[in-house]
Symmetry: C2
Subunit: 411 residues, 2 copies
Amino acid sequence: MTVEQARALLLRCAQPADAVEVELVDAFGRRLAASVQTEEPIPHFRRSGMDGYAVRTSDLANVNAAAPVELEVIEHIPCGVEPQYMITVGKAARIMTGAMVPEGADAVIMQEMTELVESEGRSIVRIQKKVASGTNITPIGEEAREGTLVLEAGERIGAGHTAILASLGYSRVPVYRKPKVAILSTGSELLQLSDPMQMGKIRNSNAYMLSAQIIAAGGQPQLIGQIPDDYPRAEQMLYDLLSSDADLIVTTGGVSVGDYDIMADFFLRWEGTTLFNKIAMRPGSPTTAGSWRNKLLFGLSGNPSACFVGFELFVRPVIQQLQGAVVDHAQTVTCHLAVDYKKVNAYPRYVRGYWYSNGGEHYAKPVGRDKSSAILSLKEANCLIVIPPTKTGFPAGDIVQIIPLDGAMSK
Amino acid sequence: MTVEQARALLLRCAQPADAVEVELVDAFGRRLAASVQTEEPIPHFRRSGMDGYAVRTSDLANVNAAAPVELEVIEHIPCGVEPQYMITVGKAARIMTGAMVPEGADAVIMQEMTELVESEGRSIVRIQKKVASGTNITPIGEEAREGTLVLEAGERIGAGHTAILASLGYSRVPVYRKPKVAILSTGSELLQLSDPMQMGKIRNSNAYMLSAQIIAAGGQPQLIGQIPDDYPRAEQMLYDLLSSDADLIVTTGGVSVGDYDIMADFFLRWEGTTLFNKIAMRPGSPTTAGSWRNKLLFGLSGNPSACFVGFELFVRPVIQQLQGAVVDHAQTVTCHLAVDYKKVNAYPRYVRGYWYSNGGEHYAKPVGRDKSSAILSLKEANCLIVIPPTKTGFPAGDIVQIIPLDGAMSK
């Protein structure tokens, strides 16, 4: 089964979680559970784009440096105040940037192009230059008319979305609940973090790595712990979790078909539907997934890099879709190979890479040793480079697809 | 003052906040407050890269398909278990991926290249092919020697960092405290989110937008509210905040030199040091900042886009440095202009843009109307395009610098 087929199968099983309402200040990074329309045009009044004077351009029809026009300033209009007077022939109003343009006026002339004169207790503005009708006035609805769809359900709420929601009066926002993702580890070689190191053993890093990946994808990780080596107890634990309020269950390790691979055994015997247990890809070919009563169970590899890649390719899109995201592609970007890729691949390979730009061109190069057991190079990677099957490798400069990782291109 | 000069001035004033310790599961996205070294080599034992048999390659020196060698399997070595026996002449051990290679063995031969025979109660593995010494064994320290610096203070903790920290036994992690950033708004035109709309007024969107930008930069926003229009009360409020536990104070609005610009007045009269009150840039030229007893106060523009740009260029790097980040450049990326840029700029312009790749090339194009009052286009933007001063504009295809925004290139 190809990566694309496996992902399509999974996404057919993932239904968005229910919606909850949160304060706008807590909505950053969440996904909208409803679309948002404008109730009023934006702007909803004629807005001045400058500090200056609201004028009738017909009053300035014959103005020039030799023949300036003088208009009486009848009002000062700060932001947030509705003008009291209409501008009639020979009149003007002082106006601030963002303030409401009074009726009768059809342009705002920049303060710097005017001269203010006090004469017999009256304020007079002297103007020596014409302006076109409409100058420095943002018309009603220029940005959006009433009833415009401005945000769609499933969009991730960034700073710009937050500004829009605030300006439309959303102090609370409907968002999808964060999917709860249970994390289980297998492997008698795993030490807890606080255990002293022992010969032949390693500390459980995959569970914590997955917890970070789950947070980055918008989920809520639940570190459950270790699956017992004893099959009946392991089975009981898995069914208990499948029946729990977790939206997804992710296990790491025990999926290859070897002597001690308890997840491979479980997927052979369970009551759920195994969607796939082998993917045409490296690393992570034994990545397994299945569905039990509409709940997805993932068996990711125990090798750190294979586990990482399996999550990014299969679990991340599911978590996104559970939050209403429209996931219809692998979210790839194209760029150029920075170095020759010389390996022979019978299957597509997802290589940890570093993506950068130089002189307008974008490049990606593999980082660290491309071993699925390698752990240090995981932190250098800001993308996965997708290397198609090849008998010859690819020369530097060839176009490749990459999958950007969390925080790519920013530090 | 140029953007670069202003940023350099600010970064000289920003000292990292103190360190706190958090659980590893809560460390994602925080910045390390100490560097991390390996205490043991990685791996700390000779690790098998395959399911197979640990052998002495000298035993296979003359092997071929016609003359296979048979070795006695003296032990099964699962992951996490220290081997009991040394491999001597004529012996082998069954071994799992990730398990510890026993003494005496110098290669692991893949299971698929062998045949297991049970004979007179003994397990015999039959091998028909040579392997080179070292095959499928990861030597001690291959990834890192003991005492290797693997993570540096100030690095943002991503999923890869989390895996490394876990594997080194960090159940708790020293990180920099999240800087507290107080947000204040000015402007009598501002309605609260729950207020009904009124003619001439707008809702306070900048404060919420800034709160999202602060979270994205790693800070902790504090929405303080509105600065009073009354100068003595405004001044009191600002000094109270400057004396509070906020690490930074950001205000929006009131910085141009107009009739009602209270922040401009404050920066003229205050006891602090004004670092700059005019920047050679658009939008956001009136962006102001100063320092009072080592605390920075920012006066950002009240225009949504100018406020957004002012934050990204000046406040974000300060928040990052307060968390120990090494900020020594504008974190720009280069790509190609997708369309002609026809405007004349006397000053560098930071244009909201959309950045994308197509056929290996990366492009950026302006989004929405390039008006600093525009709000809807803020959500389309995934970068700021840096347009240098120009009398002629720039043709499509020219190389430009862009500043990626939070979530750029991922949805």
